[in-house]
Symmetry: C2
Subunit: 236 residues, 2 copies
DNA sequence: TTATTTAATTGTTACGGTACAATATAAAAT
DNA sequence: ATTTTATATTGTACCGTAACAATTAAATAA
C-alpha cells in the first residue's frame, strides 16, 4: 500500500475510533506531517483522497473537518463495489435464478462495447436484505475480462473475485436510473403487488483501463430502497 | 481563474469542439506541458479535476482518455448546481407557490444546524420541463447565510444569487432518496393520478466552509425523472 | 508464426521549496 | 462595546527534481 493511501486509511480509522462527528476539527497539516514523517504534499494527497471519498472537507486558513456520515440503512451509490454481504449490520443474501453464456442484447452489447455476435456471461439474481426482497438484478459480463464464472462465485461477491482472483482493478462506473411501475413478473419476484412503484437502474462498470466489463439492470423493491450520494462542487 | 482550472476548462472545451468520444485518446502529459507552458504537476492537477468531474480517465503507461458522456435528457446528480434554466436543450421553468420566513420543522432545523426557534426562509416551488411537471420542491434556507430573498431571485436561480450576488462558494451536498407513492396533494400539483410512483429526495447543500445553508425536499414526477451518476473507485 | 524478453513510453508517487490567499485571532482605534 | 487594523495561522497553487510502475512497442528467441 502506498504512503498516502495508508495515511488516509489511518486518518479515517482515527475518525471512526474517536467517533468524531460532522464539523469536528482534525489536526492541522503540519501536525500530520510530523505525525507521519512525510512531506506536505503527501499529506495533502491523503486528505484529497479522503475529500473525494466524502470523509472530510478542507477550509483554507481554518483547518480540516469531518464531513457528515450517511444515515443508517442507506445504500451509497458512490462506493462502487457492487453489493457487499452486509449493509449497516443487515445481512444481504442472493439467490441465483440464471447463470449461462449467451448472445448479449443489443443494449448490453453496446454498453459492454462488444460485438453482438460475441457471447457473454448472463446472470440473473434476486437479492434479499433483512428477510425482505431488495432487488432483481440482470448482469452481463464481458467474457474477455471475466473468462469464467460459476454458481459459487456468483452467489458470493463477483467484485471480490474480479479484484482478488483475477487481479483486475475496478475503476469507475456510470449509473442511470428512473422510476416507474413494476410489471407482473417483477412483482412476483419482489413479492409485491403488480404495478407497484419501482426504481430501475442501469450500471456500467469499467476497469481502471476504461474497459467496460459489467452491464447490470437492477429493479429495486421500493419499500427497501434508500440511497445516498455525496456530491462535490467542482466548478470551473 | 487559477492556472489549473483554466487548463482544465480549455481541455474540456477542446473535447467538446472536436467531438471526442468515449475512449478517444488525448495528448500526453508532456505535450500538455509544452502546450500550456506549465509544470507537470499543474497539468496533473488539471487532469485530476477533469477526472473528478467524470470527463476523462487516466491510465498509467498508456495515456489520458475521454470518459463517456451522459445520455441526453438525464439529470446529473453530481453537478450540484441546483436546477439550471435548461437541460439538454429543454427549458426548465418554475412556479413559486410560497415564499416566507417561518420556524423550521424539527427536521429542517437539524439538517441546517440551526436553533429550532430561529426562523428560516421557506420556499415551495413546482418546476416544469418541456411543458410537463418535473417536481415539487420545498426548501429551507439558513437566514444567517441567505439573509434576503424575493420572488424574482427565487424564480431565477438561487444558486447563482448565492454565488454571484452574495459572493459565497457552494462546496458540497449530501443527498438522500427513496421511492414511494405520492399522496393526493402531490398528485394534484404534479398532475398525476393519486398514488402514482414518486421519487422523494432530500438534499442538504453546504458552503465550502462546511456550513449548511439549504435543506430541500423534492418530489419528482416519475414520468419525467431520469438521473445520472458517475462513480469512481477510491478504495483504500 | 508465436512466445518471450527488452526497451521505450507514459502516468504516478514522493520529495523539497516559495509564494500566496482565506481565515482566525489579537491588538488598536473609535 | 464595537469596529477596524495588524498579525499569525492554515490550507492551496505552482515550480522543479528524481525515482518508480504499468503499459505498449520493438527486438529477440523459440
Amino acid at each position: 500500500m502506498l504512503k498516502y493511501q495508508q495515511i488516509a486509511a489511518d486518518i479515517e480509522q482515527e475518525i471512526v475510533d474517536k467517533d468524531l462527528q460532522q464539523g469536528d476539527k482534525l489536526p492541522v497539516l503540519d501536525a500530520f506531517m510530523a505525525q507521519f514523517d512525510v512531506s506536505k504534499s503527501t499529506i495533502t494527497k491523503a486528505l484529497d483522497l479522503l475529500e473525494k471519498k466524502g470523509i472530510v472537507y478542507q477550509v483554507r486558513g481554518s483547518g480540516i473537518f469531518v464531513r457528515r456520515h450517511k444515515r443508517r440503512g442507506y445504500i451509497s451509490l458512490l462506493s462502487n463495489q457492487g453489493f457487499k454481504k452486509e449493509l449497516d449490520g443487515f445481512q444481504i443474501t442472493s439467490e441465483v435464478l440464471a447463470l449461462d453464456i449467451r448472445r448479449p442484447t443489443a443494449e448490453a452489447a453496446r454498453n459492454l462495447a462488444v460485438n453482438p455476435e460475441e457471447s457473454v456471461y448472463y446472470v440473473k439474481r434476486v437479492r434479499y436484505i433483512n428477510g425482505q426482497t431488495l432487488c432483481i438484478e440482470e448482469s452481463y459480463y464481458n467474457k474477455s475480462v471475466v473468462s469464467y464464472l460459476n454458481n459459487e462465485i456468483v452467489s458470493e461477491s463477483i467484485f471480490n473475485y474480479i479484484s482478488d482472483a483475477l487481479g483486475l482493478n475496478i475503476g469507475f462506473s456510470d449509473l442511470y436510473f428512473n422510476v416507474g411501475k413494476i410489471n407482473k413478473k417483477e412483482a412476483e419476484l419482489l413479492r409485491l403487488p403488480d404495478a407497484s412503484p419501482g426504481l430501475f437502474m442501469e450500471q456500467i462498470f469499467h476497469l481502471t483501463n476504461g474497459q467496460p466489463f459489467d452491464f447490470s439492470k437492477i429493479t429495486y423493491n421500493y419499500e427497501q430502497s434508500q440511497f445516498f450520494i455525496q456530491a462535490n462542487n467542482y466548478f470551473l
